[in-house]
Amino acid sequence: MSKVRVLVGTRKGAFILTADGKRQHWEVSGPHFGGWEIYHMKGSPADPDRLYASQSTGWFGQLIQRSNDGGQTWEPVGNKFVYDGVPGTHLWYDNTPHPWEFKRVWHLEPSTTDPNMVYAGVEDAALFRTLDGGQTWQELPGMRGHETGPGWHPGSGGMCLHTILMDPSNSSRMYIAISSAGAFRSDDCGETWRPINRGLHSAFLPDPAAEVGHCVHRIAMHRSRPNVLYMQKHWDVMRSGDGGDSWHEVSGNLPTDFGFVIDVHSHDPETIYVVPIKSDGEHFPPEGKLRVFRSRTGGNEWEPLSKGLPQSNCYVNVLRDAMAVDSLDECGIYFGTTGGQVYASADSGDTWSAIVHDLPAVFSVEVQTLG
């Protein structure tokens, strides 16, 4: 019988939530690495029992943990992330040059075919890769070394490379996003990159339509149509139909188009989900009502989904890596909040219930569909 495993990274440890295909009764395992920040945890599509976790604290720095048994046991692997060559500088908040400094791993993206190959998106923005299951990490320097790099600024959360998408139809193509440099695409396995931000408009930039400098919060795609990309930007929900060559806004009737997460229904590439957040200055849902918004038309026309979600006095946030979908026949949607709740819907978002209520602030949610 099929089963789902939800991997939850929090401010104070990792939790693993499991249920059968009905997704009604959940077992909670954790905290793993109690007291540590778990920015992200993800399983290998090629070997679902192979998991990777990014573990860090301000005291002890960055660790990478690996499990070979679906998260029952873990072992620390390599944590040496050294920029290739002389790192140079990017711009600081005050517009002065600032040396590139490794701080943490925001996102781990295992290869779709090789359980020992994993990409790591880090702060300060760069892309690393391991080919030996995390024992050693090498930078793909073409990303950080892009000619626009010296002009990149950090977002308020740091200059993080937070999104890594692999094109399932083209093993040479991948996408990344950086706050606040924007989105980039590689067509040669990560060797070289080009900005893909045409159509984005960011009022905080001197040139609102600049080639780089946009605060992209998250990008998502459906594996059946990898040329169609969806983006939650700092403000604006965007769509591209040409692999990021151009974007157009699809915020439509959303109550606010600020937010962090965006994801795509596992069986319908035109059905997408966002969680609108009031503003960049007030990181909580409008009117104190936690609502997921669903579009069945690839954007522009949105419907609120609130059944089972708190509709008064709710002032949590949903961070950029904290939404995921399973691939069961009736698509399951999951998201975690900074208030420590992980909500699940087993019916494509029509109804919701909390799997857990009181975890530490949730940084990331991933889901594996097993069996």
Binding site: W36, N79, K80
Partner: protein, 99 residues
């Protein structure tokens, strides 16, 4: 025999239990040689106390011995005789900070 006391999180990481670490250090006993020996015995601690390339101490880590703060001493400075003989431990301390 050099005695080293680690913060709880690092004892958990290295699966040391609740006790001290006892290390043999060849040659002069300094902050640097003690940390070298510690990381050789417990490779998972690399990067948690000092940078893996520059060996610069992480900002929220302190080193104490014999009621003195050795955090900012040059890493090749000999540690006190009481640490060298094992009469006193070398303390690795996480700063009281954060939430």
């Amino acid at each position: 025999m050099i005695r080293v006391v680690l913060p709880a999180h690092l004892r958990t990481l290295a699966r040391i239990g609740s006790g001290e670490v006892q290390l043999e250090v060849d040659g002069p006993v300094t902050q640097g040689t003690v940390l070298d020996a510690l990381e050789a015995r417990y490779p998972m601690l690399r990067g948690t106390l000092r940078d893996q390339v520059t060996h610069v101490r992480r900002p929220f880590i302190r080193f104490f011995a014999c009621q003195e703060d050795w955090s900012n001493a040059p890493p090749d400075t000999p540690l006190p005789e009481a640490v060298c003989t094992g009469a006193e431990p070398f303390l690795v301390v996480g700063a009281v900070a954060g939430g």
